[in-house]
C-alpha cells in the first residue's frame, strides 16, 4: 500500500439514496477530512449502512456524488488502497480458522499477511489465543474482534469506513477499538462510522452527523 502522504478528503455532495421504491435520504453533504472522525447517526432504516456503502463505492447514489480527492470514488484508482471498509457482516468464513480468515482478507487487500503480523494484530484485539479456532466456534463478540483485527494491520493513513464497529463487543473490546481509532487518527487517518449508541467516554472526538435531518 502506498497512499498519498496527505490523505484526501472524502466528500459526499448533494447525495440521495433510494432503496427499492423508498427514498432514504436526500441532500446529504458530508466531508471526512484527514485526522477527523465522523459519527453517522440516525434511526433504524434511515440509510446509515446505505450511506457507508455509497462512501465505500459499493453502491451508486440516486443523485449526487461521492468523491475522493475530487474524483468519483468508483473511478479513483488510489481509493481501493486507502479505503478500509468493515461492514455489518464480518466477512469471516465459518470453516476457516481465525488466522486463515484474517490472512485471506489481508492478502486480498494487499496488507502484511505474514504470520507474525497477523498474530500481532490478533494480539491487539485479544484474539491471539483463539487464532487456530474455527470461526464457527466463536461468539458474536469474538467474531467482531477477529474482523476488527484488520484495523490493527494498518500502518498508513487511510480512510476507515466502519459499520457498527462496537456491535457485540464487551467493555474491553470497545476500549481496544477506541485505542485503534486514536492511533489511526493520530497518524492522519480519517474515519466514518455508524453506531446506534453514542461513542463512549474513551472514544476519540467525533463530529456528529444526524441522517434523520435528511429524510425526504
Amino acid at each position: 500500500m502506498a497512499p498519498d502522504a496527505t490523505l484526501h478528503t472524502l466528500a459526499c455532495t448533494d447525495l440521495a439514496c433510494r432503496r427499492g421504491n423508498r427514498l432514504l435520504f436526500t441532500g446529504v453533504n458530508l466531508e471526512v477530512r484527514s485526522g477527523r472522525a465522523v459519527w453517522l447517526r440516525g434511526r433504524n432504516g434511515r440509510g446509515k449502512t446505505s450511506l457507508l456503502r455509497l462512501a465505500a463505492g459499493l453502491a451508486v447514489p440516486e443523485s449526487g456524488r461521492v468523491s475522493w480527492g475530487g474524483v468519483d470514488v468508483r473511478r479513483a484508482s488510489v481509493y481501493a488502497a486507502v479505503r478500509v471498509y468493515i461492514g455489518h457482516a464480518n466477512a469471516l468464513k465459518e470453516d476457516l480458522t481465525v488466522l486463515e480468515s484474517l490472512q485471506f482478507l489481508a492478502r486480498l487487500h494487499g496488507r502484511a499477511h505474514d504470520r507474525a503480523s497477523l498474530r500481532a494484530a490478533l494480539e491487539r484485539v485479544g484474539m491471539e489465543s483463539r487464532r487456530d479456532a474455527p470461526v464457527r466456534t466463536l461468539s458474536q463478540g469474538q467474531r467482531r474482534r477477529a474482523t476488527l483485527a484488520r484495523l490493527a494491520l494498518e500502518r498508513q493513513p487511510a480512510l476507515w469506513i466502519l459499520d457498527e464497529p462496537y456491535d457485540a463487543l464487551d467493555v474491553d473490546g470497545i476500549d481496544v477499538v477506541n485505542r485503534l481509532l486514536h492511533e489511526h487518527l493520530a497518524r492522519g487517518g480519517s474515519v466514518l462510522l455508524t453506531s446506534h449508541l453514542p461513542p463512549g467516554a474513551g472514544a476519540p472526538d467525533m463530529a456528529e452527523f444526524d441522517l434523520d435531518r435528511f429524510a425526504p
Binding site: 465505500a56 463505492g57 459499493l58 453502491a59 451508486v60 484508482s77 481509493y79 481501493a80 488502497a81 479505503r83 471498509y85 461492514g87 455489518h88 457482516a89 464480518n90 466477512a91 469471516l92 468464513k93 465459518e94 470453516d95 476457516l96 486463515e100 485471506f104 482478507l105 492478502r107 486480498l108 487487500h109 494487499g110
Partner: protein
C-alpha cells in the same frame, strides 16, 4: 494481481477440503446417476455403448450445476463478496479465480471419474480417451457459465431454478461437440473437428464469462 487470484482460489479449495462431503456431492451424483442407466435402459453392451457419451455428458452437466448455485451466495451472505470487490483487483480476476476453484473442486473429479464410468458403459479404450479429453475441455466451460448464472441470480428467490433455466441452454453446444467427439471416434472418423470447436468454445467462454460474471456481481451488490 496474481496474489489475489491465488488468495481466492486457495481459500475456496481450503473451504472445500473442510466440507468434504459437500465437495464430493457432485462427483457422487455423477457416478450414481450414470450407474442407474444400465439398470434402467438394460445391460446390453451394444445399447450402452451407443448412449454412453451422451449419458456421461448430461450427468456431468447436471452434476456441475448442482454446486454452482452456491458459488457466490455464501460469500454474499457473510460479507466476503463485498471485500473481494472492494479489494481494488479487477472483478473479472475474482470471477476467474472462483470459476477455476469450482472446476478444480467439481470438474476435475468428474474428468477423473469418467474412465471408470466409461468402463461401466462398455466404452472402447479409444472412446474412453476421447471422452476424457472432451470432458477436460468441456467441464471448464460448465464452471465458467455456471459462474455467470450464479452471479446473475445472486440474492434472488428460486435462484437455483432460474440458474438452470438460464445456463442449461448455453451449455448445449459443449454437450453436442463433447458427446459428438466420442461418437466420431466410435464411427471411425477423426474427432479433431469436435475438439477444435470445444477449444474455441472454451476460449470464447473464458474471455466472456468472467466479464459477464463481474458485471452481474456489481449489479447484485448495488
Amino acid at each position: 494481481m496474481s496474489a489475489a487470484f491465488t488468495a481466492v482460489y486457495t481459500r475456496d479449495l481450503r473451504l472445500a477440503l473442510r466440507r468434504r462431503v459437500e465437495a464430493l456431492l457432485p462427483v457422487v451424483f455423477f457416478i450414481v446417476a450414470v450407474s442407474l442407466f444400465p439398470v434402467g435402459v438394460g445391460p446390453e453392451p451394444q445399447t450402452l455403448r451407443v448412449i454412453a457419451s451422451g449419458v456421461v455428458w448430461v450427468c456431468a452437466l447436471l452434476a456441475s450445476m448442482l454446486s454452482v448455485a452456491n458459488l457466490y451466495a455464501v460469500d454474499l451472505l457473510d460479507g466476503s463478496l463485498e471485500q473481494m470487490l472492494l479489494s481494488g483487483h479487477p472483478p473479472t480476476l475474482i470471477a476467474s479465480a472462483k470459476a477455476a476453484a469450482h472446476w478444480t473442486i467439481t470438474g476435475a473429479p468428474l474428468v477423473l471419474a469418467a474412465p471408470l464410468i466409461g468402463l461401466l458403459l462398455d466404452m472402447s479404450p479409444a472412446a474412453l480417451a476421447t471422452l476424457v479429453a472432451a470432458l477436460l475441455l468441456g467441464t471448464p466451460i460448465l464452471s465458467l457459465l455456471g459462474g455467470v448464472g450464479a452471479a446473475l441470480t445472486l440474492g434472488l428467490r428460486s435462484a437455483g431454478v432460474l440458474l438452470i433455466l438460464l445456463i442449461l441452454p448455453l451449455t448445449i453446444p459443449a454437450l453436442i461437440f463433447g458427446s459428438g467427439a466420442v461418437g466420431a471416434v466410435d464411427s471411425g472418423i477423426s474427432a479433431s473437428g469436435h475438439f477444435s470447436l470445444l477449444g474455441a468454445l472454451l476460449i470464447f467462454t473464458a474471455l466472456i464469462a468472467p466479464l459477464s460474471t463481474a458485471m452481474a456481481l456489481r449489479i447484485a451488490l448495488e
